[in-house]
Amino acid sequence: METLWFCLVAVALAAYVVLDGFDLGAGIIHLGVARNDEERKQVLAAIGPYWDGNEVWLLAAGGTLFMAFPSLYSSAFSGFYLPLMMVLWLLMLRGIAIEFRGHIDSPVWKPLWDVVFTGASALLAIFFGAALGNVVRGVSLNAKGEFFLPLWTNFGVKGEVGILDWYTITVGLLAYVTLTQHGALWVAWKTQGEVQRRSRRVARIAWWTVVALTILTTAMTLNIQPQVGANLRLHLWGSIFPIISVVSLVGTWIFLRRSQDLRAFLCSCGFIAGMLASAALGLYPYVLPSSGDPSLGLTIERTAAGPYGLRMGLMWWIPGVLLAAGYFVFLYRHFGVARFSPPRDEA
């Protein structure tokens, strides 16, 4: 039952990254691919109907985590208190920027919110990547399973660690380029004209950085967290996830070259899902390893809620998620393959 919930939390988190990932990615490329107001409106229209609903999956993942692994939630959200507050503020700023931008027709107002939109999206991508890096690397837990991380200590990965070290920064950069590619592919699918052309170029360049950083991060992870290598050797079937990632990444390139934007985007989704599933597999049964003594790490057994709670939760979670998923299917089909074209006088 605990393992099932571990997988469900991973699924909810992966859904968030795949969905809000392209909103963040669109934000990252916003200033670059859109040079005038009409083009900026195109990019915002590309994520317009979706971004608010996509963001809610973060709450779904957090809520699922709270319900299934309450001690992990309490330990982690206290230990990562300040970065979490900053993530919260960045999410607020991203939403405000999108919503406020259109209200005043002013050469000061609109670029200001464009910059806030791009800045917040970029920082969120880096923060989320660094957060994942922190979880995989482990934190300095005490005997009670608590911790509080400073922003950095000595940038090393053992013992007394900080939120930023060379590993978590690298993972943050990997998240940044992955979401840039992801967002660029979505924007390329949803737009036409100059914005589409520039997005495809960004996606092409981003792809190479994704490959390079994936190789680097994988090597680092196997080096730093012995649990990951051990799990892969133990559960050989689990290597399906890294294989899905690699195949998807290759597929992204192939479809990008053929300008088949939707297929390239779906391959990017597969890449992200495969990467996160690999991380989850590598972490199991730890939910938060220790950077010092391994026996202090938080496992699913130590942190899971009681069996009654987990059973009841399942009875609510499944219909709830099915309802949400049904709505999402409706939403994406409803706005379908609408492409947002440049204004008529430019055509």
Binding site: S78, I96, F100, F148
Partner: protein
Amino acid sequence: MLSLPFPYIATTAGWITAEVGRQPWLIYGLMRTDQGASMNVSAGNALFSLIGFMGMYTLLSVLFLFLVGREIAHGPEAE
């Protein structure tokens, strides 16, 4: 028009009643508020985030009043 502030007052008053009225309990009869506070988050951190939120909300309120004021001054769209 004079009734404009009343919904805001009502909602805020309701929340203040609920949150102040529950003290000193976090979970009535089971857990007190000071027992629920995390031991790992120092007072300085909590103050930082409190000031941060106050700043964010002040900014948002000012922007809100500015934008809504503009809309009201603009008046209704012509039919």
